[in-house]
């Protein structure tokens, strides 16, 4: 389900970001098309996570602009980005450790809950109906991610690979238009990576999420993604389909440390 070229969901235009004197991103432009899996790769410190933080409104770039659904986006907070349909997962899992898997995923539905505190406190009538409808969505996600057995387990007690899965579940619960995944497979073994790859592909194809992901496992990136943008020292050094990127001299140089 490749998207058409003109259907651009998000465009990053000449973005630069610095922290004090440190240039994290300099003059980077790329776009994310509706329906694609877009990978952002690069060596450590290349500015990948910073880039993701810019996209979801956590950082505001000093220069350049973000166009979201074709319109230039004003300075915004992450929760505003979330309200507009951008969900994300984090490099170092950011879940509520004391809450169960189900409750964590339910928090992803928070933005979809329309009833106010009064109704929710009453636990009757419209708030209850809403809760049931949202629970159903969460249960479908639990079924999709094959985590029924840990539905009622506090996530703090779960192994890392499963926590990553729960975090993906919470992001999916938002039914996002754009899903940002920061190293979804870090620290996983081969089998866990295969499972996670399958979930990412299926989330993209059948749940209709456009996905931008950062990942270090180049094999996985090349298999999963439709297009890859490569950053090095905050600059874009390549942006193409996986096959082209793989054979790009600059990319090989950046990864192998060859001077160029």
């Amino acid at each position: 389900m490749k998207a058409e070229t003109d259907d651009i969901l998000l465009a990053v235009e000449h973005v630069s970001l610095s922290f004090g004197g440190v240039r994290a991103i300099s003059d980077v432009s790329f776009d994310i098309r509706r329906g694609e899996i877009r990978a952002i790769i690069g060596p450590n410190g290349a500015g990948k996570t910073s880039m993701l933080n810019v996209v979801n409104g956590f950082y505001h770039p000093q220069k350049g602009a973000i166009r979201w659904r074709g319109r230039a986006r004003a300075r915004m907070k992450p929760y505003e980005a979330a309200a507009q349909g951008i969900a994300r997962t984090f490099q170092n899992v950011a879940l509520f450790k004391g809450m169960t898997t189900l409750d964590n995923i339910m928090t992803g539905r928070n933005l979809r809950m329309k009833r106010n505190l009064f109704w929710q406190a009453l636990r009757r009538g419209p708030a209850l109906d809403e809760e049931i409808a949202n629970r159903r969505v969460c249960e479908e996600i639990i079924d999709f991610l094959e985590i029924e057995h840990i539905r009622k387990t506090p996530v703090g007690a779960l192994p890392y690979g499963l926590q990553k899965r729960v975090e993906l579940g919470r992001a999916l619960a938002m039914e996002p238009e754009l899903l940002l995944l920061d190293e979804p497979m870090a620290g996983m073994n081969r089998e866990e990576k295969e499972d996670m790859s399958r979930f990412i592909v299926e989330a993209n194809r059948y749940r209709g999420a456009t996905i931008a992901l950062i990942e270090h496992d180049i094999g996985v990136v090349m298999d999963l993604s439709d297009r890859v943008v490569v950053l090095d020292y905050g600059r874009k050094i390549a942006d193409d389909v996986p096959d082209k990127v793989k054979s790009d001299g600059k990319v090989i140089g950046a990864y192998l440390g060859v001077s160029h």
Binding site: L102, R135, R136, E139, E140, I142, D143, F144, E146, E148, H149, R151, K152, R198, E202, Y206
Partner: protein, 664 residues
């Protein structure tokens, strides 16, 4: 809809049974399945309706009377209904083990000659598609769970739901519905009802053909035996293709009309058990053991008061629980202490394990430790043992509620004729007895005796109170030179129930007496040695320690005493033993990868020790090559002491007969 309406007591096929329940108890729950976190329930009337739709759909695919259809997957309602749907048409369902690898599945599917396969999900579909070239007959592959299968464009692949929808649409025509009714009516009890493949632990798996009337007849016997009714409920979590599941859940459920609950997934089964709270339950010994370990670990982690209460009342339960359960006289204060313990510990514990509503529980499949068995009995769980076989359609023996022991499997089940052949082999005739092996008449003839008994391949004997004891595979049972029965595994298992003994090898076939080579369990003996302030530097040194020898001697002596109480086994007491200087290891080929002793290899490697055991020598030497974990070879040189033990005189008076009044 239903033309029947007769009572289920008269029906001779599962399709007719289902129809009768739909009329008689149409609104009672028949199946449950946890889906999306909620228990979904179908009544008997709904199940009948769904099953008819699937049956009509299968007719549309060309399934005919006598043809086979394979079912591959876990316990899910629609897979059970597919079984009944096939039976409605007179076709023969063949449930296949879902965890089998592609190669094994291909062999069974090919042998079964199935043209239609109902698979659970993408995993099973992928597996079957990967061996499709070996299944020339396969025309239709149906799946229950559509997830991940949307983009498959394989020939003959379709969703079971879609096929059922076509069937349902066709059934809207009264003429079609009447034709289906006629097919159900035309089903004969003597026709093959199902083919269950044996798990194949002893050779290639064989397809056991069972007929409807015999299957239902056997289930009726045990339903009456355990007083199962439509108020009962069971969690169907055992492999769908295993005779245990097909009997305990499917056949008994359809006969008694009780509710069959399917877990959400294999991983959630323990939790689903708690939510459903079944009244009828089966689990293999290792499952009960795992549960107990979990309880013990949790208790170790709990607070001091709880721990004290647990210990105090488990002590009460240990002393009186089994006696109360067996209806023996118990003093009033013990009864009151037990009642209090039930309130504080036993009932909450059973509740936490999901066992509080269980009326009847069975275990079978392997020897169960006496302590383990006593634990569950003592907290008031009606846990019993049975012995069965696929060829018998499960039940050969079963313990009655009031005569339960851990070391025997009970008297013959209702209407089962049981005998011990001269060779020591257990042979039976039972109501559920199989018709034959599918496409293997020679094997059928090998298994049947001339007078129509089935050979189990197991050796056993009857205890004085009439309970059967299984001792070993018949081919492994030998005799001493004096003619006494020698069952190595029986003796070895008795030794291995002691935590200090990891492995044991009994030698005696064709010899004057029984000798044993024992492997100590390093973890528990090391722990014991530490508390005894015994210093040692290696496994070999610990194994040769005189105090370790003395401790093991006591264990062997206890086994001898137990053997002396059993008239059949009293001649096979252990007269000499030694402790092996190294652990038996699969890397050295002494054990299989599944930790079973390889007698041939051991006889060869330890020949010098065996010679020593059989002579009068007080020690023997060994020199053997050993393989370290990293593949390096080393040499083992050791001299080990051999200990002589005086035998107990065989018990003359048989143990007091069990309370016959309570026996069925």
């Amino acid at each position: 809809m239903a033309t029947g309406g007769e009572s289920p007591e008269a029906e001779d096929t599962f399709a007719k049974l289902l129809r009768a329940h739909a009329t008689l108890r149409g609104t009672r729950p028949a199946f449950r399945h946890k889906d999306l976190g909620l228990w979904q329930t179908w009544t008997w009337a709904e199940v009948y309706d769904e099953t008819r739709a699937i049956a009509q759909g299968l007719i549309g695919l060309g399934l005919k009377r006598g043809a086979t259809i394979a079912i591959v997957g876990a316990n899910r309602p629609r897979l059970y209904w597919s079984i009944t749907a096939a039976q409605m048409i007179g076709a023969v369902p063949v449930p296949v083990y879902a965890d089998a690898v592609a190669d094994e599945i291909a062999a069974v599917l090919d042998h079964s000659e199935a043209t239609i396969i109902v698979a659970q999900d993408q995993e099973q579909v992928d597996k079957i598609l990967s061996v499709r070239d070996r299944l020339p007959r396969l025309a239709h592959l149906l799946y229950d769970e559509p997830r991940g299968l949307n983009e498959y464009a394989e020939r003959g692949l379709a969703a079971l739901a879609a096929i059922a929808a076509i069937g349902r649409a066709a059934l809207a025509d009264p003429a079609v519905a009447r034709d289906l009714d006629r097919l159900i009516d035309g089903g004969r009890g003597s026709d093959p009802s199902v083919i269950l493949y044996t798990s194949g632990t002893t050779g290639r798996s064989k397809g056991v053909v069972l007929s409807g009337e015999r299957s239902i007849g056997a289930a009726r016997c045990t339903v009456a035996f355990d007083r199962l009714t439509d108020q009962d409920e069971a969690l169907a979590y055992l492999p769908l293709a295993w005779v245990g599941d097909h009997y305990l859940n499917y056949a008994q459920g359809y006969v008694a009309g009780f509710c069959i609950a399917c877990p959400e997934s294999a991983e959630t089964a323990a939790n689903d058990l708690r939510e459903i709270g079944p009244t009828y339950h089966f689990a293999p010994p290792r499952a009960f053991e795992a549960l107990l370990t979990r309880v013990q670990i949790r208790m170790e982690d709990s607070g001091a008061v709880k721990r004290w209460l647990y210990r105090a009342f488990m002590d009460v339960a240990g002393r009186w629980g089994e006696k109360i359960a067996n209806g023996e006289p118990v003093p009033l204060n013990a009864r009151m202490a037990y009642r209090l313990g039930d309130l504080l510990i036993y009932a909450p514990l059973k509740n936490a394990l999901g066992l509080s509503r269980v009326r009847v529980a069975y275990t079978a499949g392997e020897a169960i430790g006496a302590d383990l068995f006593a634990f569950y009995r003592s907290i008031g769980l009606n846990l019993k043992q049975l012995y069965g076989q696929t060829e018998a359609f499960l039940f050969v023996t079963a313990q009655t509620d009031r005569a339960v022991r851990s070391d025997a499997v009970g008297p013959p089940a209702p209407n089962v004729e049981l005998r011990i052949a001269d060779s020591g082999e257990v042979q039976f005739k039972s109501p559920g007895m199989f018709v034959g092996y599918f496409r293997e008449d020679d094997k059928t003839r090998e298994t049947m005796t001339d007078d129509g008994y089935v050979k189990t391949g197991d050796a056993g004997f009857f205890d004085p109170d009439g309970q059967l004891k299984i001792i070993d595979r018949a081919k492994d049972v030998g005799r001493l030179s004096g003619g006494q029965l020698f069952a190595p595994k029986y003796i070895e298992n008795k030794l291995k129930f002691f935590p200090e003994i990891r492995e044991a090898v009994a030698i005696g076939d064709g010899r004057d007496f029984v000798a044993a080579m024992i492997n100590i369990e390093l973890a528990s003996v090391a722990n014991w040695a530490e508390r005894q302030a015994i210093a040692y530097a290696s496994y070999q040194e610990l194994a040769a320690n005189p105090r370790v020898y003395a401790m093991i001697e006591k264990r062997v002596d206890a086994v001898n005493r137990a053997l002396s109480l059993e008239p059949v086994m009293a001649g096979a007491q252990i007269r000499r033993f030694l402790i092996l200087p190294k652990e038996l290891d699969p890397d050295d080929g002494e054990l299989t990868r599944t930790q079973k002793v390889r007698r041939g290899v051991i006889a060869e490697r330890y020949a010098s020790l065996i010679v020593g055991l059989n002579s009068g020598a007080s020690e023997a030497s060994i020199s053997a090559e050993i393989t370290y974990e990293d593949g390096r070879k080393g040499k083992l040189e050791a001299t080990v002491r051999i200990v002589d033990l005086p035998p107990y005189p065989p018990a003359r008076a048989p143990r007091p007969p069990a309370r016959k009044a309570n026996a069925a």
